[in-house]
């Protein structure tokens, strides 16, 4: 139980820290990559919480496809936030 709590806390920090960076960063490309990292940590968190089907979806859509969609959208607009 201690180990589970420890892993869950580490993963929670790994989800929240990139999310704060993504909000604060002026560089939208690095913000998008930070969101992808947060999504990946969330996928591992789902796996730890015994929801493997949600984890598969989160890993494929959150960490893969959403990141690509953000990057393509940034390429069509501008990289730096004003």
């Amino acid at each position: 139980m201690m180990l589970f709590t420890f892993i869950a806390w580490i993963l929670a920090v790994l989800v929240i820290a990139p999310a704060i960076y993504a909000v604060e960063s002026k560089d939208l490309l690095s913000a998008a990559i930070a969101v992808g990292f947060a999504d990946l940590a969330a996928a591992i968190l789902f796996l730890v919480l015994q929801a493997p089907d949600v984890a598969i979806t989160q890993a494929a859509i959150g960490a893969g496809i959403t990141l690509a969609i953000f990057v393509y959208a940034i390429r069509r607009t501008e990289r730096w936030e004003k």
């Binding site: 598969i56 494929a60 496809i65 969609i69």
Partner: protein, 243 residues
């Protein structure tokens, strides 16, 4: 200063929530004898709703994955609506982005190793995605995760081959056929079992691949549909037309 305060407040809120989430979540004993009242009909029962699903799924649907049974059988109509939402989003994106003027973007080929390795990895990604949606009624996963994994394979190809897109025509045909298959399976339920999306095929042997009636068929259709829709979205955003 205001930012620092906002960050501090959100971290504090998150820490409190996480503390209660980790320590306060006592496991619920669904097997205990308790009286539950149906708020609509007023019926009394000693089984909670999760316990009813866990008990009845096997004889009702023949699926060993209860989540799948709920998504496709008990709540099949909701899933049809969910698929429609995704379809509408993809269509709207194609309308908005598809006709936009394309900038002349620098097109730099990725290096040789990336090209060859991505070609070697692609079949395995597609096989894993197909496995996930074919075995949706047996193992964790189903149509949406499987389709998303296949779309991730498409994404790999779009990233590696910088000057090429996906075949738009084939993708839209696949998408439409898969959506039609789902609706037709539901309508056949109306014919053979008197209810839309009701199971009318034999349930087969429990935990075998050919079991659980229409669940595998619907999940195969959803897998194709989600994969082609997400692929189409990424193709439209990338903005390369096959000449």
């Amino acid at each position: 200063m205001r930012r620092a305060v906002a960050i501090a407040i959100s971290v504090a809120v998150f820490a409190v929530l996480a503390y209660f989430f980790i320590t306060g979540a006592a496991p619920v004993d669904y097997t205990s004898e308790a009286n539950y009242t149906n708020p609509i009909t007023g019926e009394q029962s000693n089984r909670s709703v999760p316990q009813q699903y866990l008990d009845d799924t096997r004889q009702d649907t023949g699926a060993s994955n209860v989540v799948t049974a709920v998504v496709v059988e008990y709540r099949g109509f909701d899933t049809l609506g969910e698929v429609t939402v995704l379809f509408t989003a993809a269509t709207g994106l194609a309308l908005l982005i598809g006709e936009m003027k394309r900038r002349n973007l620098p097109k730099e080929e990725p290096n040789f190793i990336v090209k060859i390795a991505s070609g070697a990895v692609l079949p395995f990604i597609v096989i894993v995605g197909t496995y996930i949606f074919i075995h949706g009624h047996l193992t964790p996963g189903g149509g949406f995760p499987g389709g998303a994994v296949i779309a991730a394979g498409f994404l790999l190809m779009l990233l590696v081959h910088v000057n090429r897109g996906l075949p738009e025509r084939k993708i839209s045909v696949t998408e439409s056929l898969a959506g039609m298959t789902y609706a037709i399976i539901g309508l056949l339920g109306l014919v053979f079992a008197h209810e839309f999306l009701q199971n009318y095929l034999p349930l087969g042997e429990f935990t075998m691949l050919f079991s659980a009636g229409i669940i595998p068929l619907i999940y195969i259709a959803i897998g194709f549909k989600v994969g082609s829709e997400l692929g189409g979205i990424m193709h439209n955003l990338k903005g390369v037309h096959e000449e």
